[in-house]
């Protein structure tokens, strides 16, 4: 079954140029789909539309976005409130930007949990702590009692993933989750997202410009350019037998290390 399905989606910003043009693809249950493309290709717009968070002026011009079987556009505000967070969750490029700088991690975390499920603060605290431990954050007690600025970028991103995953959503949307991180931290975050998929069966849509990350994580890869979906297929298909010229170009320009497979 498909968790998310986009049917002929077009998105317009303030009645000017189309940012996304007639894109259709589906995200099967428990699979990872990577959307790759360069800046301005509409990949972030697409993923934001999927959760209904288009910036002001952005509008779904045509097509349908189906979550499960339901049309997102036809949902009431109350239904949307339940879908977001419980059904699907999103993480952004810079986790520090949406953690409240004036509140401790534990307060924000427990509040998010209590918005969606009825539980006491104590229960919430325990769940949060367990979730942070699954993400291999060292010293969860310290993390829970810290303010966001006291944590490093990678730790904040992991807190964000933990928050997004603790409601056990069917779908996780990730908008450039590792672009602001160092390579070693990126490896940690990528590994944890893949582990979570294996453990909880969450489908993930990840937007990235890093072909290496896309190739490592994804089961399916979507290539976008100028708002158009240039290619969509399984990882093997897109990486080893690309059909579109733009995909081929994108693959050749990525710098590669010599002796890539044999290592030390």
């Amino acid at each position: 079954m498909n968790v998310l399905e986009l049917r002929d989606v077009s998105i317009i910003y303030q009645n000017t140029k189309e940012a996304v043009k007639h894109v259709s693809f589906a995200v099967p249950e428990g699979k990872i789909v990577a959307i790759v493309g360069e800046s301005g290709s509409g990949k972030s717009t697409l993923i934001r539309a999927a959760i209904g968070l288009l910036p002001a002026g952005g509008e779904l011009a045509s097509g349908q976005i189906l979550f499960g079987e339901k049309d997102m556009a036809a949902m009431t505000a109350e239904e949307l409130r339940h879908v977001r967070g419980e059904g699907m969750a999103m993480i952004f490029q810079n986790a520090g930007d949406y953690l409240n700088p004036r509140r401790k991690v534990c307060d924000q975390y427990v509040e998010t949990l209590r918005c969606h499920q009825s539980m006491t603060k104590k229960q919430g605290y325990e769940i949060a702590k367990k979730m942070l431990a699954t993400l291999k954050l060292p010293d969860t007690k310290h993390v829970m009692n810290a303010y966001p600025f006291q944590l490093s970028g990678g730790m904040k991103q992991r807190v964000a993933i933990a928050m997004a995953m603790s409601m056990n959503p069917k779908l996780l949307l990730a908008d450039e989750p590792t672009s602001a991180l160092d390579v070693t931290v990126q490896a940690q975050v990528v590994k944890q997202m893949m582990d979570l998929r294996d453990k909880m069966g969450t489908a993930i849509v990840i937007v990235t410009h890093n072909m290496g990350v896309a190739s490592k994580m994804a089961d399916y890869i979507a290539v976008m350019q100028n708002g158009e979906l240039k290619e969509f297929g399984t990882r093997e298909q897109v990486i080893y037998h690309p059909e579109n010229d733009y995909t081929k170009k994108l693959l050749t320009v990525v710098p590669k290390l010599q002796g890539e497979t044999d290592g030390e």
Binding site: S215, M217, T261
Partner: protein, 325 residues
Amino acid sequence: MENNREIIRLENVSKTFDLRYHKTLRAVDNVSLSLHKGICTAIVGESGCGKSTLARMVTLLEPVTDGMIYYKNEPIGGMQNGRNIALRGEKLREYRRNVQMIFQDPANVFSPRMKIGTFLMEPWIHFEKKSKKEAREMAYYSLKRVYLGEEYFDKYPHQLSGGELQQIAIARAIALHPEVLICDEATSALDVSIQQEIMALLKEHQDETNYAILFISHDLALVENFSQQVVVMYLGRIVEIMNGAAFRMHARHPYTKALLGSVFSIYDDPDKDIYVLEGEAQSPTGEIKGCVFCNRCSQAKDICRQEAPVLKPIRTGHQVACHFA
């Protein structure tokens, strides 16, 4: 190898920043390095390892706390016999002319109210004392060198894309044929296809004018394809200096290996285990005893916590700071 003339040499350069409550932050710790004509030296490392601070010290944007920087064997900045030495006046101007820098985000380099043409004319007017008319001709020529048309002369920075702006920044940096070009993450903010164009441009002009490049980056694959010498930094110290080619095979320091292991390549097997470096880097404030990497290193023994390893050569052009390399 006569071409390899040394231009800039750093000797035991350190930089500390004073923080509040009498704490100090060691950004760069005892770094020795030299830049040679026609050679591209790359510095790789993660954020906070001091690579940008190093670049800013070489360009004399930041004073050196300890150690000395030499330019063609002349001391230009640092401490000598307890005295602070710094270039001044005409000499500093001359140095700035020969050592040019390209920054990460081109959008912040340009004055938003200045036309591209004016921007490109400046070096000629300031350093070569050209008339405006001549400078205009030279600016057209500069544009041509980076494959941009003359119509760019009258544009404003906001009308250009990031890649084009970076091309203009390069055009201005190489206009006066500098001896050293310092690129601080010059391509990190750009898309990969544009990144390739910019790198090709830098390479092409290097063949032509033979400048030395100090290339700062966190992209190991990019660095390998582009540079002859690779310097790996961790927490302000150099942990390994290697030849550029095929360094994946030759890397000896555990941190370099970890860095290399964290790079996802397109054609990797997706089922291969991801090598994850545990823990967080030590705090750069306060004294670090022993090896900087010991708290995350899998091979760390007692000696690593007691004694800081020094860089020792293991082959030509390959130095490692590790007790077990």
